[in-house]
Symmetry: C2
Subunit: 347 residues, 2 copies
DNA sequence: ATGAAAGCGCTAACAG
DNA sequence: CTGTTAGCGCTTTCAT
């Protein structure tokens, strides 16, 4: 008596545990070949209604889940887009990614995201890992990348979008706004609002520094006083904002001026510390934030800040990528979405 | 005169644009076969030093980036882990994912993340898409999933972790804490702190509702008053917290009691609204939050809240998955990391 | 409308 | 230490 062995073989000889259902298995059950199943899934109109029905039934019965890995290898299209952001817990970035993802998911793309901190070397390693997944496009944050990063991205010959900043020389495409212009605009706003004294509170983000520097230069023009600066190496937090005001008040004797912060979170900390000390905002200490987070309009006093349309940034980045991949109107290399100063009670 | 055509062929006949450098190309340049390159990359000790040197040089020269898609197909290991969270902009989830990712990246795993909102049907579709990438493990948020979701996950025969909640019947593993116990604990805390009146403010999250219901039941035991409830369908925000207090004050005549919120954000809104109306916290309105966010300790008055160690949750989830994949101590099916009530000034 | 064949770029097993 | 062979599960091309 012989034993009929119908198990799949793996590699050279030997058998293994049942791996996922394949298209071939679905085809067998539906009485068609594997290719027909492939067609039924990618373009049902290419298959007769009756065949389609049997295939669908077989898929249902077997619980078949397509293997996108094999599909990507064969078709050279992964339907994967990878994104690199400094931090996934920072709402500034995650809100852009949210709309970016939403827009692309509608076209069946998935987003693979990694954190890079603010270190170009970490970014470089992450780019290599990401490219190994053969994404159909890559999204980066910012415009400063190592030469090696640029080289790899260029060699990949896929759409690349640099988000959240602009430059005349993007790797491929960029969608953002001018941080220098934003710093300048806040300086002009403060001068026009009548503030003669200013201080800055910034986190260690390179772009925040660029905004701050632009602010300081513009505010310091004839008629303006030197600006006091507090800078933190790490990321922003409410407590850092509180600490910063303490330092400005106690160590630097700062009073009767405007404190310009690199984020709403820091600004909120300044506002809280001012309140805790019984200082009037904006009477004694005026405060300007950055980002226009949800809460900016609802704290007391409400926060004067810079609004950047992060949802639009994510959406436009996604659309630029789709235009490139799916063909059609070639997207502009540089998209400047600008910013807006929102004047509320705090300054 | 003849033209020498050395271009790679694709499919059956025809030529195409230069696709990425392959292992075979690297091997050719280094004077070895493709497998040797594969070995040099996966286990350098299996290759002679001189060969290794030549291969590394060839990789450098060509700018070779490994194709993880082909690797995954051949090895049946994708080095990919997928994660499903309700929202990527919510710090509660993103902070867990951050440590989860960090822990796994150290072992060369990448994390593919998607949002599910709070809809099991959306989650079901997302699980199918994720499984098509043949991940080595899957992370889900919460313990409530559609039968079809459970079926697919079970059929995939990979480690599955349900995070942020616990149950006796996980799909595979779960790492979290008891939301019911947390609601009860807050109720006991409030009773012991002497509050006789209570109100709840909750977002539409199923787990938040479960905490609230447990709170209401426990607080309402003999000697306790009925609890007034405000529930929002959507997600939490500072302004919703402010609105909630307005409703409790103006519509329900709530006074001299404790307002228990489903998140620190809502609690912060309540605190701000109370301050805006000149009400004393905790004197006239006491407030309890949930989550112990960064800012909870630094707003004025500081927030009494429930702390959950989100970093530990992400870390333990990652370690459980690694234990499963890499072998070794089998991880416990259920890990309860508990919670802690942090008493500060607001209640 | 359907099928057969060839290959995507790699890893796994076996043989030297 | 290195090479050969046989797939992984699909898509693409060509033929019917």
């Amino acid at each position: 008596m012989s034993v009929h062995d119908d198990r799949q073989k793996t590699g050279r000889g030997g058998t293994s545990a049942p791996r996922g259902v394949t298209m071939a298995a679905v085809g067998r059950l539906a009485g068609v070949s594997q290719v027909t199943v492939s067609r039924a899934l990618s373009d049902p109109s290419k298959v007769s209604p009756e065949t389609l029905r049997r295939i669908r039934e077989a898929i249902e019965v077997t619980g078949y889940v397509p293997n996108a890995v094999a599909g990507a290898l064969a078709s050279r299209r992964s339907k994967l887009i990878t994104a690199l952001v400094p931090s996934i817990t920072n709402i500034v970035y995650s809100s852009m990614i949210q709309t970016f993802t939403g827009e692309l998911r509608a076209q069946d793309y998935q987003i693979l995201m990694s954190e890079t901190g603010f270190d170009p070397k970490v970014e470089e390693a992450a780019v290599a890992t990401h490219l190994s997944r053969r994404p159909d496009a890559v999204l980066l944050t910012g415009i400063h990348h190592s030469p090696q990063t640029r080289r790899m991205l260029l060699a990949a010959e896929i759409p690349v979008v640099e988000l959240w900043d602009i430059t005349d020389t993007p790797i491929d495409l960029c969608v953002g706004f001018s941080h220098v212009e934003s710093g300048r605009a806040v300086a002009r706003f403060c001068r026009e609002a009548g503030y003669l004294r200013a201080a800055t509170v910034s986190a260690g983000d390179e772009r925040a520094i660029r905004r701050k520097d632009a602010f300081v230069r513009e505010f310091g023009r004839p008629g303006g006083e030197a600006v006091q600066e507090v800078t933190y190496a790490g990321s922003a937090s409410l407590v850092r904002g509180r600490e910063a005001l303490v330092r400005l008040l106690d160590e630097a004797g700062f009073r009767n001026g405007v404190v310009v912060c690199s984020s709403d979170l820091l600004a909120h900390g300044v506002v809280i510390e001012a309140a805790a000390r019984g200082l009037e905002v904006p009477g004694e200490i005026a405060v300007v934030g950055f980002g226009d987070q949800d809460y900016a309009a609802h704290i007391v006093p409400s926060l004067t800040t810079v609004r950047v349309d992060r949802e639009a940034l994510g959406r436009v980045a996604a659309q630029a990528i789709l235009a490139r991949i799916e063909g059609g109107e070639p997207p502009p290399a540089v998209t400047d979405l600008g910013f807006e100063i929102i004047r509320r009670e705090s300054a």
